[in-house]
């Protein structure tokens, strides 16, 4: 595989090949089969003189080694003649290695124009002439390899080589464009910058170093670049002394200004570090890549302006990385205290904001919605994170305006994800206004709240940008406010408020406050904001219920000192809007102006949690289980009330129980009539108890104490809390009543446990079969299409149905059939899921939840089930239910499980008598067999190990083999309808121990 790279049939021109690098290139190509035109003028290194000797020597050397070569003595300036030699001698040219060169080193100060021109002539013009003459041939044959020889001097500059550097980078650019123009025709051009000991470098490098830099270290790269397999094109390589490496351009990310920006030399100076920073660099490899960022910038349109503090183009619309936070009842209560709630502990309106077990329910003060958003902005500021283009310090920032909106009442605890962006930037002349928008989402990605924080950036305006809206918002009407609320702000209020997250020392540290020009620490503007929200809710909302709150919009006009008196003046603007302002009474200063609060006309509903709630009446245990569940207790309560109607008269309260996990709601009416118990909500509960299903069970069974549950926060009581004391009668419930209820429920196959509960309209599996029957009756041709008898064995609760889509007109009946062709076994729930399309049959099958026996492929034909019209199905079910209610049900009662009884003892007797009658077979079997039979369970000790076989009930001490089989399958085995092999393979017969014995039990199939 690893063949030498060959150049057979290729014709190469190497200029300046009489010595050094050129000679080395020529020898290497020739040694690998190329026909080489060895060009050398035979001059000195400075371009003086001419002779044929140098080229001839190399040609001789090649020929002696068995290669092919022809000499040419022309100057590269006559490049067409060199190419002509190749065409005349070999008829083609495949490779051009522009290697010839001379030096005229001198410092620029001393350099003559002749020095400059001569270098240009030989290196640039010479490379051009040779290449230009070869180019048409290469284009014609669609193949060519061109090498330019550059130098580190051109790439990096070198003292005394101004002319040479010019020429060397000239040929590099030349090759780069040839690469673009020739690439499509398989003409590849590359440039090398060699460092080799040659006649040219003798003048600049010490002798011993030159020896180490043999030309032979350069030629392998040149040869590879000239090989037909090499696809490199338009590249530049540094090579020499054993080093091979590729060069590319690196460009800094730089600084980009939108079109239309006023860019001055000062702007450039200011951005210099960014312009020259290579930490985010790119490596453009062609003109398009080079231009791309510029084109992108142009496509972004005109600049919106900016200055040293704010670059609107960069900052506007910037999306911050999302952040998360969470809060709970403690945070909400602490916040409410921080904004003055509860300074009168008798004020019930405030109490519901701070007391998590409040009788009408704990409620969040909605202005709390500003806290998570502001806290994350404060956190970002502390960490020095800012949007690109916002280059001002936090000391310039004043909280100017705040808009906060909640989509629905805040839940008592939540985990939030915040997504923030720079929403608007306005140039207000002296100052700038920057609005940060934060949208916060709950764990299910539902939008919870929107905040817009508008900051005044002092002294950062004046770039001549957009001024933004100037109309003042929320201007109070002339005339007296409709409502005024006055509240003294506690002297320690800032100390309390800051615990909600704004730890700025300005609000607590007297020294710091003085440094900022205040006589003492000032109150947080957002603390006043919270006071105002409370005042408006308490004064203007229906029942002072904070859950109506939609949004608040304020402008912070001046600061407040703790201990001052706040006056909130409110003007109602329609039903759902209040315009307000806040003043400090002592100084008669407006501190919050242009403010409004909007409310919803109805309390928004909480979003339903995404997980599916479990069935309402189920309880933890399976419907068919006789373990008491919560519904049994309610059934028992119903019985209890029936037995003693006087209870209701003593209690006189309507209770509602809201149970969770699984969720259910029951109403216990101990007020009207003799009292009643029903599943479902009631319109007017007087006392509502909320607790988990399991805690309810524990409470009713005496395992848990109601008071402890209450104080542990596990039982929530709302409404008339005292009334809950009257529930002590629960502990008097006769346990037997509960057990009876459980038994009755289990016996009825999980039917409705509470009589008063309305009958479920949810279809059940029987309904599906009724719909199936209806469909089969209406579509008799299904029989000819399907032609299979199916049996459905459902579990949990258990039922068996037969779908005969083979005989007669087809039928659907409850119960087993003698000869099912395809049996499907699955749980009732999975069956419902499958027929409603929620679950996939194939998935159930491969997941092991659907067991198909018999003709598996026939199950494919059940797809007609999906064609059943749901409306017709409903009709059929309705009809069937009505008939059933009238006592004339058409569904056949399920036959009692029909195990073909093996009549155990009878069979055992037969086995015993067989054993005594057939000593030959017994001695052939020669084994102790333990037979374990299930349903009904029996243990047979069958000992055929001695001369006389015995078979009796019991267990052998040491059996050779143990067979485990159901009574029904044993009947099938002993009647010959099933073979032992089949029963074993399908797992119905288990064989532990010496399986060989089974092969000797052929007699069993005739036993029954």
């Amino acid at each position: 595989m690893s063949k030498e790279l060959r150049f057979d049939d290729k014709v190469a021109i190497v200029t300046g090949a009489g010595n050094g690098l050129g000679r080395s290139h020529a020898l290497m190509l020739a040694a690998r089969g190329a026909k080489v035109v060895v060009n050398d003028l035979g001059g000195g290194i400075a371009g003086e003189g001419q002779s044929s000797k140098a080229a001839d020597i190399v040609v001789d050397e090649i020929k002696k080694a068995g290669g092919e070569a022809a000499a040419n003595y022309d100057s590269v300036v006559d490049g067409d003649k060199i190419v002509q030699t190749a065409m005349d001698t070999y008829g083609r040219v495949d490779i051009v290695i522009n290697n010839a060169g001379i030096l005229r080193d001198t410092s620029f100060a001393k350099m003559s124009e002749a020095d400059w021109d001569l270098i240009y002539q030989v290196h640039v013009k010479g490379s051009y002439k040779v290449t230009a003459a070869a180019w048409p041939h290469m284009r014609e044959q669609k193949y060519g390899r061109i090498i330019m020889t550059a130098s580190a001097a051109g790439i990096y500059g070198n003292f005394g080589q101004a002319n040479y550097s010019m020429a060397k980078l000239g040929v590099t650019g030349f090759a780069n464009t040839l690469a673009r123009e020739g690439g499509g025709r398989n003409i590849f051009s590359n440039t090398i910058a060699p460092l080799a000991g040659s006649r040219l470098t003798e003048t600049v490098l010490p002798e011993d170093l030159i020896k180490a830099l043999k030309p032979e270290y350069v030629s392998p790269l040149v040869a590879w670049l000239c090989h037909q397999e090499c696809e490199e094109n338009g590249s530049l390589f540094e090579v020499g002394g054993g080093y091979f490496g590729k060069l590319r351009w690196e460009r800094s990310e730089g600084k980009m200004y939108r079109v239309g920006r006023d860019i001055t030399p000062d702007t450039i100076k200011a951005a210099w570090s960014q312009i020259t920073d290579f930490s985010k660099s790119t490596h453009p490899s062609d003109i398009n890549e080079s231009m791309q960022p510029i084109m992108n910038n142009i496509s972004k349109g005109e600049s919106k302006g900016g200055n040293e503090f704010i670059d609107v183009d960069e900052a506007l619309g910037y999306q911050f990385a999302p952040s998360t936070s969470s809060y709970d009842e403690r945070d909400l209560a602490l916040y409410a205290l921080g904004v003055g709630a509860g300074d009168d502990p008798a004020n019930d309106k405030d109490l519901q904001l701070v007391y998590e077990m409040h009788g009408t329910g704990f409620k969040a003060l909605p202005s709390y919605a500003v806290i998570p958003a502001v806290n994350q902005i404060i956190t970002m500021a502390k960490e020095g994170k800012t949007a690109p283009g916002l280059n001002f310090g936090i000391d310039r920032l004043l909280h100017g305006e705040q808009y906060t909106e909640v989509v629905r009442p805040l839940p008592p605890h939540a985990k939030l994800t915040h997504k923030s962006n720079v929403k608007s930037i306005y140039d207000k002349g002296k100052n700038a206004l920057v609005t940060y928008e934060t949208k916060s989402y709950d764990e299910n990605d539902n939008l919870m709240m929107v905040n817009e924080l508008t900051a005044v950036i002092r002294g950062a305006g004046g770039w001549g940008g957009e001024r933004g809206p100037s109309e003042p918002k929320n201007v109070p009407p002339t005339g007296k406010p409709d409502v005024v609320t006055e509240q003294n702000i506690g002297a320690n209020q800032a100390l309390l408020y800051r615990l909600s997250g704004d730890w700025n020392p300005l609000h607590v540290d007297p020294g710091m406050a003085k440094a900022f020009g205040f006589e003492k620490p000032i109150l947080h503007g957002l603390c006043t904001f919270g006071y105002a929200t409370r005042h408006v809710i308490n004064a203007c909302f229906p029942d002072s219920d904070p859950r109506f709150f939609k949004s608040i919009n304020v402008r912070f006009a001046d600061s407040v000192y703790p201990g001052e008196t706040l006056i909130t003046e409110m003007w109602k603007d329609g039903d759902n809007r209040v315009v307000f302002q806040c003043k400090v009474k002592e100084r008669d200063k407006v501190v919050i102006s242009n403010a409004a609060i909007e409310r919803y006309s109805e309390i928004p509903k909480p979003v339903a949690p995404k997980k599916k709630t479990e069935s309402a009446q189920g309880g933890a245990a399976a419907p068919g289980s006789a373990e008491p569940i919560s519904s049994d207790i309610f059934t028992a309560i119903g019985k209890f009330l029936e037995a003693d109607p006087s209870v209701a008269g003593q209690i006189q309260t309507v209770f509602q129980f809201v149970l969770t996990g699984p969720d259910s709601v029951y109403t216990v009416d101990l007020k009207n009539g003799g009292g009643s118990v029903s599943a479902g909500e009631t319109a007017k509960p007087e006392c509502s108890l909320e607790l988990s299903d399991s805690d309810f069970m524990d409470m009713c069974t005496g395992k848990a104490d109601a008071q402890k549950l209450y104080f542990g926060g596990k039982l929530k009581i709302s409404g008339n809390v005292m009334a809950s004391q009257k529930l002590t009668f629960l502990s008097k419930l006769d346990p037997k009543l509960v057990l009876d209820a459980a038994k009755a429920r289990a016996g009825s196959g999980g039917g409705a446990p509470v009589e008063a509960a309305p009958q479920s309209d949810e279809p059940n599996s029987a309904d599906v079969f009724i719909a199936m029957r209806d469909y089969v009756e209406k579509n008799p041709d299904i029989v000819s299409q399907v032609g299979v008898v199916f049996q459905f064995k459902l579990t949990d609760p258990d039922s068996v149905w037969t779908l005969d889509a083979k005989n007669g007109k087809g039928s659907v009946d409850e119960g087993e059939t003698q000869k099912p062709e395809c049996t499907l076994e699955l749980s009732d729930a999975d069956f419902m899921g499958m027929t409603s399309g929620d679950l996939d049959a194939q998935k159930l099958y491969f997941g092991g939840k659907l067991k198909i026996s018999g003709n598996v492929m026939a199950s494919q034909k059940l797809t007609f089930l999906q064609k059943i019209d749901p409306e017709q199905a409903k009709e059929a079910v309705k009809k069937a239910r009505a008939e059933k209610a009238a006592g004339g049900g058409t569904a056949k009662p399920a036959p009692t499980a029909k195990t073909v009884a093996a009549s155990g003892p009878g069979l055992l007797e037969k086995l015993a008598s067989f054993a005594s009658a057939n000593p030959g077979i017994v001695s052939e079997v020669a084994a102790k067999m333990q037979w374990n039979i299930t349903g009904p369970d029996m243990r047979w000790a069958v000992d055929f190990s001695k001369g006389v076989g015995t078979a009796k009930e019991g267990t052998l001490d040491s059996a050779d083999v143990t067979f485990t089989i159901s009574d029904g399958d044993l009947a099938a085995l002993t009647s010959g309808t099933e073979s032992m092999e089949v029963l074993y393979q399908n797992g119905k017969l288990r064989i532990d121990g010496d399986l060989q014995v089974a092969h000797r039990l052929g007699f069993l199939k005739t036993l029954a």
Partner: protein
């Protein structure tokens, strides 16, 4: 004439339980770096890459090799169920043998979920529906992991035919754990007694839990190359692939009403016959074997399918200790799928890795003395059986 395919380098990472591993790209990169190191090859020298995995979206292979290098080389993603790793290996070997490349990387990796294998796409024909159909007909579809039902069912059929003791199956697990106790890369390194295996919870009669390979996360890789490439890298007598064969199902899988046939007995039998013919070496010449012991029942059946013992002779073979040190062959010195673990895509390459170490004599405590010829058997339901003969 095909080029000789040398296995210049191999590498793997320690296998881990689902949930306890790195992501697939990190695992794969670990194995690739091991293999490159082992081969003394720089990644840019790799001309093609073949990446095997079963669970993952398309082009995980690229994502995995990009961890090590981004060089624009062809990368092929290979998916062939449990024989994915060796299928990738075979493609890589073909590229070398056919002169398409001088040096290729083969990597297999798998990030598995907890629990039994299942079907990921339920809106289309299940590729195993024909296999499952055979099983349903013979023994129904039960509530055990489907693969355990298939191989366990084959075990039942074998047991019925030959009256095999359940202990015989269990002994394979005992041996596997003994071997694995010397393998630092194995998932399970603690030994088990016969009682412990027998008394473990039953998954599907006759298989107990310890007789089923665990879902595993892991990766393994190999560098394949030509002689010239190996020489250039100074490799002296590298391990090479003497022969390699892949078979897929024959009609016997579906129309003979046999669980043993359904799980690929004839695929293995034919693959072995072809392999021995191609290599000119018979089973009797083999020193060390890595075979596909996804369940003990399959190891037992494979002994017979690939000719390590005569048909019906597996019980005696096991009782005589001919499957371990001191016997005729050492099967699964690594601990096999049962103990080392079975990250589907990685298994074929982990087997290859073990066998290369064995042939180099660097398998430490697991070393099969003087191993000169190694045999690999990797089987996937669906189906494909890849067998490879390695020599040094």
């Amino acid at each position: 004439m095909a080029n000789k395919v040398n296995v210049l380098g191999v590498g793997m990472i320690k296998f881990a339980k689902p949930g306890a591993s790195d992501d697939y790209n990190v695992m794969a990169a670990g194995a690739i770096r091991e293999a490159l190191n082992d081969a003394g090859v720089e990644y840019p020298e790799v001309q093609q890459a073949y990446a095997g995995y079963v669970y993952g979206d398309s082009t995980c292979g690229q994502r995995a090799v990009y961890e090590v290098g981004i060089t624009g080389i062809p990368v092929f993603n290979v998916n062939n169920n449990c024989s994915t790793g060796s299928s990738a290996l075979m493609l890589g070997a073909q590229a070398i043998a056919g002169g398409m490349a001088e040096c290729v990387l083969v990597v297999g990796f798998e990030k598995m979920e907890k629990g039994a294998l299942g079907s990921k796409f339920t809106d289309r024909t299940n590729p195993l529906d024909q296999h499952a159909g055979v099983m349903s007909k013979l023994q129904g579809f039960n509530q055990a992991p489907p693969a355990a039902q298939m191989f366990g069912g084959a075990g039942r059929e074998y047991r019925w035919k030959h009256g095999t003791k359940k202990e015989t199956f269990a002994k394979i697990s005992v041996k596997a754990r003994q071997h694995a106790s010397n393998n630092p890369y194995a998932l399970f390194s603690n030994v088990l007694s016969l009682d412990e295996v027998m008394n473990a919870p039953e998954v599907f009669d006759p298989l107990t839990r310890y007789q089923c390979c665990p879902p595993t996360c892991g990766a393994a890789a190999a560098i394949l190359c030509t002689d010239a490439f190996a020489k250039k890298h100074g490799a002296v007598d590298p391990v090479y692939i003497a022969a390699q064969v892949m078979t897929t199902d024959y009609t016997s899988s579906f129309d003979e009403d046999s669980m043993i046939k359904m799980i690929g007995y004839d695929m293995a039998k034919q693959a072995a016959a072809d392999l021995y013919e191609k290599a000119g070496i018979g089973a009797e010449d083999v020193d060390v074997v890595e075979l596909h012991d996804c369940f003990t029942a399959n190891e037992l059946l494979t002994y017979e399918a690939i000719g390590l013992c005569p048909e019906g002779g597996a019980e005696k073979f096991i009782e005589d200790g001919d499957n371990t040190y001191g016997g005729k062959f050492v099967t699964n010195p690594s601990g096999g799928l049962l103990s080392k673990g079975h990250p589907l895509g990685a298994t074929g390459l982990a087997q290859c890795t073990e066998l290369v170490w064995q042939l180099r004599g660097t398998a430490d405590k697991r070393q099969v003395e003087g191993a000169k010829i190694a045999l690999q058997h990797n089987l996937g339901l669906g189906g494909a059986c890849v067998m490879t003969m390695y020599r040094k």
